[in-house]
């Protein structure tokens, strides 16, 4: 993932330098920058990057127009970076096909995490294995390997587990989990979710009554604690 090429477009040179520095420190090796829409279009013509970070307010071409141009030729993920935070702007960005939206002033960590999440989502690499204290879960095959046995995950268990593993180490709320399983209208699904969690625990925990990997955060949701993640 760290070798993915990222094009950063912003008219503030100092901001460009800073973003480059943040990403390079985080291990990214192919950061290209462009200070204007024109320059960006030239870079894009030569080689389409793996991801674009785009500022809305550019001196020559407005960011939304540039996004439209990009969308004509490519589905490359675009993260809009802008000083504008108004709801309407956010919506027009998403309507035009932006993948995410970060409002200035942003925290460097936040930008980094969002970019990494988008890259992970867009370019899934094979052999994704999640290693838990008592089992290993192969995300590509939707299987749990434990004590030499292979246990398959049901579609719903898989979705729940995927959501938890994407947010490993962080609390995922009950609503968010229900939503991944049954969509927008999820109220009333909480009990069913608990059943799925119980089944998941039976498959991935050494002792399902004293879980080490899939932890309940009382009243809020669940958290997946990993041993290590391999790619």
């Amino acid at each position: 993932m760290k070798d993915s090429s990222i094009l950063v477009i912003d008219d503030e040179l100092e901001l460009l330098t800073m973003i480059r520095s943040i990403f390079e420190r985080a291990g990214f090796t192919q950061i290209t920058t462009a200070a204007s829409g024109k320059e960006a279009l030239e870079v894009l013509k030569q080689k389409m990057p793996a991801m674009v970070i785009l500022d809305v307010m550019l001196p020559d071409i407005d960011g939304f127009t540039l996004l439209k141009e990009i969308r004509k030729v490519s589905k490359v993920p675009v993260l809009m970076l802008t000083a504008k935070g108004e709801a309407e702007d956010r919506f027009s960005g998403f309507e035009l096909g932006a993948d995410d939206y970060v409002v200035k002033p942003f925290l460097p960590k936040e930008l980094l995490l969002r970019v990494q999440a988008i890259l992970k989502r867009t370019y899934p690499r094979g052999n994704r294995i999640v290693i838990l204290p008592a089992a290993e879960v192969d995300l590509d095959k939707a299987e749990v390997h434990r004590f030499g046995k292979t246990i398959p995950l049901t579609a719903k268990e898989y979705n729940i587990f995927l959501k938890l593993s994407e947010n490993a180490g962080r609390i995922v709320t009950i609503g968010a989990l229900c939503q991944t399983v049954c969509g927008e209208i999820w109220q009333g699904y909480e009990t069913t979710l608990m059943t799925h969690i119980r089944h998941l625990r039976e498959k991935i925990e050494k002792n399902p009554s004293a879980p080490e990997a899939l932890i309940t955060i009382k009243g809020l949701g669940y958290k997946l604690v990993l041993k290590e993640v391999q790619r």
């Binding site: 503030e12 100092e14 901001l15 800073m18 973003i19 520095s21 943040i22 420190r25 000083a83 504008k84 935070g85 108004e86 709801a87 309407e88 409002v103 200035k104 002033p105 942003f106 925290l107 460097p108 960590k109 962080r170 609390i171 995922v172 709320t173 009950i174 609503g175 968010a176 109220q187 009333g188 909480e190 955060i217 009243g219 809020l220 949701g221």
Partner: protein
């Protein structure tokens, strides 16, 4: 609008009242004058019937009572009795110039009109035709003859004309007042709208055209001033964003650079922390200013307040809450089913600000409990901490205040916590209610009520 209608209704009623009062007063006056004048004339009048009674006919001829002459004298009147042939058979004080014999034509004439300018009255007496004459120009005599039907229809006509006049007067009054109301109502509505901070657009026509124009101008100016202020805040917060991003970015870089000394890294950390505070402040300021002028569109969707609170609390916990704080969510059994209508971003911001408020004002740590329950069709969200609470003065101010000006209060003092002010505005925008209270032994409890949309 209601006040204006009430005012005009009252005005119309009072006008009718005045009209009625006039009528009544006139009736009373006419009656009083009629009675008193009739009394007056009755006093001076010498009734012929009374006089006639004082005259008797006996064997000796015609005799009068002793009062008769006295009465006659007092009135400067004279009297005579005519026999059937028109001859004067008895007289008293009869002026010399008057004849002593009358033809039936003369009798018919004077009984109706005058006898040589003397107003006279006649009375049928056993002795003959009793005639009393009054001094010249003392009594006016008119004979009134009228057809009965004509009199009847005339009376009805008078009543009709009188009623028509009254009715017309009432209609004209009502019409006039209606016109005034029509002209003034838009102005009053305009003033009301101005007070609510809405734009005013009155038609600049009619007699009060100038007032309408002025009002439109005033409202325009108010809105311009308001939006200028809001735009100014928006522009400032916009221009601050990029420099602040760079500051935050580099401060974070320095903080994480393990080649540098611990002291430098700690200092960078402090810069980053304060930069983050500034970032939150700018975002709050911008949003508060927009909410104040209703510029921020509220994207209302159906929201589960429990899930929303879970997400906000999870964010706090996921982003590493200091271990001196315990953040907890308690939900009553029915609360899970509550659905409210609102802007999830704004409501999340509200909860963030409340929790953040407890954290900032209690640097040594405290427990923060968020409770969600339902109470009579209301969703009650309570954020309670075990911190130091707030002073009674501030508590009173927070509870009594309307949503205050976002920058300063009347005295120019900065309003305590822009964050709390923003919370107020978000609550207001969602038609909710907020109250603050201190808890025993110490701590602050903030309760917010929102109307429940439905229950799942």
């Amino acid at each position: 609008m209601k006040t204006a209608q009430r005012f005009f209704r009252k005005y119309l009623l009072s006008t009718f009242g005045i009209l009625l009062l006039f009528l009544l007063l006139n009736c009373i006056l006419v009656t009083v004058i009629a009675i008193s004048s009739s009394n007056l004339s009755a006093k001076s009048d010498l009734p012929i019937s009374r006089l006639a009674k004082l005259i008797t006919v006996n064997d000796k001829g015609i005799e009068t009572d002793k009062n008769f002459s006295k009465l006659l004298y007092e009135q400067h009147a004279w009297a005579m009795i005519l026999n059937d042939r028109g001859k004067v058979i008895w007289e008293e004080n009869l002026p010399e110039e008057l004849p002593r014999n009358y033809t039936s034509t003369q009798i018919a004439q004077f009984s109706k009109w005058y006898l040589q300018d003397y107003p006279v009255r006649v009375w049928k007496h056993p002795a003959g035709l009793f005639v009393v004459g009054y001094p010249k120009h003392s009594v006016v005599k008119y004979t009134f003859t009228m057809d009965y039907d004509y009199l009847f229809s005339g009376l009805i006509g008078i009543i009709v004309i009188f009623s028509a006049n009254i009715l017309l007067m009432l209609i004209l009054f009502w019409h006039n007042i209606h016109r005034v109301e029509k002209a003034v109502s838009p102005i009053l509505t305009g003033i009301e709208m101005m007070a609510e901070g809405k734009s005013v657009n009155l038609t600049e026509k009619g007699e009060l055209k100038e007032i309408n124009t002025e009002l439109n101008k005033a409202a325009d100016q108010l809105i311009k001033k308001d939006s200028a202020r809001s735009e100014w805040i928006c522009a400032i917060s916009h221009d601050i964003r990029t420099p602040l991003s760079i500051m935050l970015g580099y401060a974070g870089e320095i903080e994480d650079d393990d080649r540098l000394t611990t002291e430098t890294r700690t200092q960078a950390g402090i810069i980053r922390k304060h930069g983050e505070k500034l970032r939150k402040l700018i975002m709050d300021l911008n949003l508060a200013s927009k909410l104040e002028y209703s510029m921020e569109p509220i994207n209302k969707t159906l929201i589960s307040p429990v899930e929303l609170t879970r997400q906000v609390i999870s964010d706090f916990l996921n982003n590493g809450l200091d271990s001196s704080f315990v953040l907890d969510l308690k939900t009553h059994s029915c609360a899970e089913k509550i659905v409210i209508e609102g802007d999830s971003d704004l409501l999340a911001r509200m909860l963030e600000n409340l929790i953040h408020n407890s954290i900032t004002h209690n640097p040594h740590g405290c427990n923060i409990n968020v409770t969600i329950s339902d109470d009579e069709n209301c969703c009650v969200i309570v954020v309670e901490d075990t911190g130091k609470g707030i002073s009674p003065t501030l508590l009173e101010r927070l509870n009594s205040a309307q949503v205050k000006s976002i920058v300063c209060d009347k005295g120019g003092e900065p309003v305590h916590g822009l964050g709390l002010n923003l919370v107020r505005q978000i609550v207001k925008a969602h038609k909710g209610k907020i109250s603050f209270q201190n808890v025993e032994p110490h701590g602050l409890r903030i309760s917010i009520k929102f109307p429940i949309k439905n229950k799942v």
